[in-house]
């Protein structure tokens, strides 16, 4: 009876860790899918879309996660196939410098103008 209890506890522990790992993979999968643009839909992520393209991408992402591929590697794989556009969150490179730096530049210029005006008013 005692042995049976020990086996039952081990069985539950193994299954619980498996469930935890599945849950973690599912969260990772969803966060990746929400960051991938559906190329044939307008303004929809792969996560939100039910198109053929989106369902193929969902299968591919699932497969890559199960193979142990990291989030960054999956994005790299998709970028190689479809270009930077496929990822909602573009990385900083020579094509995206303006995209990343222009808002910062405008913020700094705006801040400087406001500061100057405030000092001038004082």
């Amino acid at each position: 009876m005692k042995i049976l209890k020990i086996f039952l506890i081990i069985y539950l522990l193994v299954n619980f860790s498996q469930l935890k790992s599945d849950e973690k993979n599912s969260e990772l999968k969803n966060s990746i899918l929400k960051n991938i643009r559906c190329l044939i839909c307008q303004g929809q992520s792969v996560y939100d879309s039910e198109s053929d393209f989106a369902s193929s991408i969902k299968l591919i992402v699932n497969k890559k996660i199960n193979e142990g591929m990291s989030e960054e590697k999956i994005y790299e794989f998709l970028r190689e196939k479809y270009g930077d556009w496929v990822i909602y969150d573009p990385e900083l490179n020579k094509n995206t410098y303006i995209l990343w730096l222009l808002p910062l530049l405008l913020f700094l210029v705006g801040g400087a103008i406001m500061r100057k005006n405030l000092i001038f008013k004082k």
């Binding site: 044939i40 307008q42 053929d52 393209f53 369902s55 193929s56 991408i57 299968l59 190689e80 196939k81």
Partner: protein, 173 residues
């Protein structure tokens, strides 16, 4: 003087915004990935359409010749339109055509081939569309030209036309 400088700065900024938005108007709101970038051929395993057995990609692209990978489906109307041109290309001995049957019903696909002819040296089944993703396709039909070094050198989105056929013939010559 200071006011003039401010007006000039605002004017330049407005012109800059105008140019960006004006340029944006010309661009289509659907995205087309670059078609001229060279890519390595993906490594994959797929089911053969006629033999119904699995085959590795290295056993598909075995010969030292140009290959064309055409993604098609029986439910795809533009595929029907481009089919005669694929038949024309298949008569060129320097090109081998590989068909990738995309998310299709096997019986319908067989009927399609029986009705319109088979331009392909081999047809692979892509039941869930994942193989098309490995090639970087996002729709159907799409056609990829593969050189003798087994690199994807060109991609044609949508049905091929006479002009594309001529372009392919010039490349493989």
């Amino acid at each position: 003087m200071k006011n003039k400088i401010n007006i000039i700065i605002i004017f330049i900024f407005l012109i800059f915004c105008f140019i960006i938005f004006y340029k944006g108007l010309d661009k289509p709101n659907t995205y087309t990935p670059k078609t001229n970038t060279e890519k390595n051929l993906p490594i994959f395993k797929a089911k053969d359409f006629t033999l119904n057995t699995y085959i590795n990609s290295e056993n598909v692209f075995i010969e030292e010749s140009y290959y064309i990978v055409n993604i098609w489906a029986s439910w795809c109307v533009p595929c029907r339109k481009e089919h005669p041109l694929l038949m024309e290309l298949s008569s060129d001995q320097s090109i081998k055509l590989i068909g990738l049957n995309y998310r299709d019903n096997l019986n319908n696909a067989k009927k399609f081939i029986d009705e319109l002819g088979n331009p392909y040296t081999q047809i692979l089944i892509d039941k869930d569309g994942t193989l098309a993703v490995e090639f970087g396709a996002y729709g159907v039909p799409e056609t990829f030209l593969i050189d003798k070094n087994k690199r994807i050198i060109k991609k044609f989105t949508g049905p091929i036309n006479k002009k594309i056929v001529e372009e392919i013939k010039i490349i493989v010559k």
